[in-house]
Amino acid sequence: MSQNEAQDAILTFENVSRMYGPVRAVDGVSFELKRGEILTLLGPSGCGKTTTLRMSIGLERLSGGRVSYEGKLVDSPADRIFVEPEKRGMGMVFQSYAIWPHMSVMENVAYPLRYRRVPKAEANKRVLETLELVGLKGYENRRGTQLSGGQMQRVAVARGLIANPSVLLMDEPFSNLDARLRENMRAELKRLQRRIGISILFVTHDQSEALALSDRIAVMKDGRVEQIGPPAELYAEPGTPAVRDFLGRSILMPARIVGSTGSNVDVSVADGQVFSVAGPIRTTSRAIDEKCLVSVRPESIIVEPAETTNVAGANSLNATIRTLLFMGETSEADIELPGGHMALVRLSPSYEWREGQAVRLTLPANKLQLWDRSATDAHGE
């Protein structure tokens, strides 16, 4: 990926915090946006992600810490440095698009060039080029109010790009679009970014958007960055309960540690069955009898009809399908585990399924993770 060739940071947050009265909206956030990457700030509403984005351009001021852009400090309360948003020269796309209704598409997109002393003829040429880039060729004379949501979105992107900034900030840009359009725009944006190589700092609360779009994701919670890394890594090996529960679904089962062999830990789940856990162990201790939680992604569980497998393999248990949900390309099922625990799992299309059916679940050891008992997040299932 592109960050391999250019590793230098273009935007740097160092221990940044932002207070609203006594509330710490952003609390000691540090990260680097690297040249040419898409970095997504992901988290539930109120986690401080939008404030963080707004602080990078100066629409919000820091309470503490430092932000630098292209090697220069742009906001640092301790050094009494603050560069106004209009002097930073970044591009930004707003959640509501902020297309000025009293201007044409041309005037909207050309607006940043007004402040950069670009001659009229050249400005017009660049606007047309940029509109073509975002797929809005021929729309330059429309008024801002004569556009659909998707078109406004494109105008907003064009306006963000026209002045050739090295960073484009995007604040939940797709949240006002309908589901299908949102998926198209997501792919289109990534293609566009790969073509022109701009760095994007992206904010969303939509995990599938973040996973699909980003080179790296920073998951935020309560004003802090919980974990930062490539999407696949975060998904496979979440470092905190918040990341685990925010990215995708997990099935959590209460368990007790019964022993350990090498890096593997053996635990006993509700009905006394012993599982071997080979994934990351996030518990504070590995002492025998320690209460803990085992987590597994639903798609990692292998579900088979009980009658097809008469051998009780390792890491497997018996369960019953209670509710069957046909989803089109896949099926899902609510299954009842021994001890009455319910879990939503994905079913393979290679079998016939029915409600009330006895099934055998296999939980591969390397897909299991171990957590402290208290490690359930608000979003946990």
Binding site: P85, Q95, P112, R114
Partner: protein
Amino acid sequence: MSDAVLQRASWSMIKPPVSVQSLFYTIVLAIIAFLVIYPAFMLVMTSFQVNAFTLNPSTGLDNWRDIFSRPRLLNAIYNTMSLAVVRQLLSLILGVLLAWLIARTNLPYAGSLEVGFWIALFMPALPVTLAWVLLADESIGLLNVGARHLFGIDYDLFKIYSFWGIVWVHLMTSTIAIKVFLLVPAFRGMDAALEEAARTCGAPIFKTLLHIVVPIMAPTIIVVIMLGLIRSMQAFEIELILGGPVRIEVYSTAIYKAINATPPGHGIAAALSVTFLAVIAPLVALQQWYGASAHSSISGKFSNRSMDLGRWRWPLFAFIATMLFFMTVLPFILLLMSSFMKKFGMFDLPEPWTTRNWVEAMTRGDIPRAFWNSMRLALSAAIIGMTVYSLLAYIVVKTKFWGRRFLDFLTWLPAIIPGLVLGLGFLQMFAGTPVFRPIYGTIAVLVIAVVVGSLALGTQIIKTSLMRLGAELEEASAAAGASRLYTFRRIVLPLIAPSVAVIGLEIFATGVSVVGLVALLGTGATQPLSIVQLIYLDSGLFEPASVIGILIMVITVVAALLARHIGLRAGLGRAE
């Protein structure tokens, strides 16, 4: 949607069987039509009456010939227009800036400043005019006296009796305040991202105001300008007090002078009034048409963050706070001073301070009587107004009464007519129609005038709050088996009660401070405080006029604060 649902959805539209209800609505329509149209009709009739107060009255065009043959009419039109335009220009620039600062920036104490402008909006014009006379009168004005004593300036630094004096006092009363009041909610409803986007594009903060906020808000701003022009042209008492001595005559004062001439020129006043209406009507029509067509749509999802003013925060706060001090506190201090002085400005007297003015005001008879007249007038007008406007608004919004559109139109008419002209119309109606003559000379005449005068504003505000009530709320009540009357009492009334109460307080404040509308109607025994003050002021008795001014000011400000408190609690006038 099933038929049953459709049927329920149209519940509020089902026409009741021809009934007591529609008969009642028709009577209401007839009464309002009469009260609004008949005075105007009487004006037109009077304008053709010649020699009305002599032995051989006749009918003819003499009055019309008279007004068109004198330069007076043109002169009055010119003065009215130039005063209105200058005032609107200045107040618009300031008003837009102030509204933006209050609604869209991190100006300190923006909420309190907004309350300050609300109070300024209610400040009664006549007492405030008096305060500025006390400050800037050529001989006794404190500023001129001070300048002479301290700096030895031997000419008059400030001339309150002048074109600019009139402009200044208007700016210091409601002209700026009403712009702030009307623009702040509109500015608050604007998506902050529209401004922020401009800043991220490289626009400095004040450029965003010029390039983005003002153009986007243009429809609202234009409506506000037109409203301001209409109000300016209707202004009366400030021009009368400050323009009179220097012969600056505007339309309304010309009409007033014609009536107070000997012999009274009612015919001429009526002819002037009719031409005045002809001048104003197109403007009102334009404003109505534009206001209806220019409803800017505001998206539901937006952020309402405020712009950082940086180091300008506190200087701007100080500027606005000073302005508000000039508008509200300073007039009060001056009236208070004046009311405790033997002769205002005469600090050289051995004993300049006295409580005599207050003692006399309490005991002499005319002020206590005027006080009770004002109270009776304001209270009756408030109670009748709340009832009548609610009824009218309900008929217009929530029924299918055949005449509801016409009724709506009728409630608008009084807004066109300047208070003084409406007052003249009522004078002709009550004094000139034998059936009404017994009412003439009672306080009831004033009450009717005030209720009709506030008809447009009152009905519109209650209409708005009725329209915001979703039909479902009433339909749910109907679905639960409640009758229409029961639904009105238990559902509609409690929900619109706050705006009705705000209107009640507004009429009350108007009833206490109103001048133009009742200047011709209050006779001796029924004169309210405001008219008695006008008489004292006209004859240069500033000290008793100050006593009355303080009374009026205190009553209206208390009503204003109460109205705001109720309004805010009910979520009126705020975007959040």
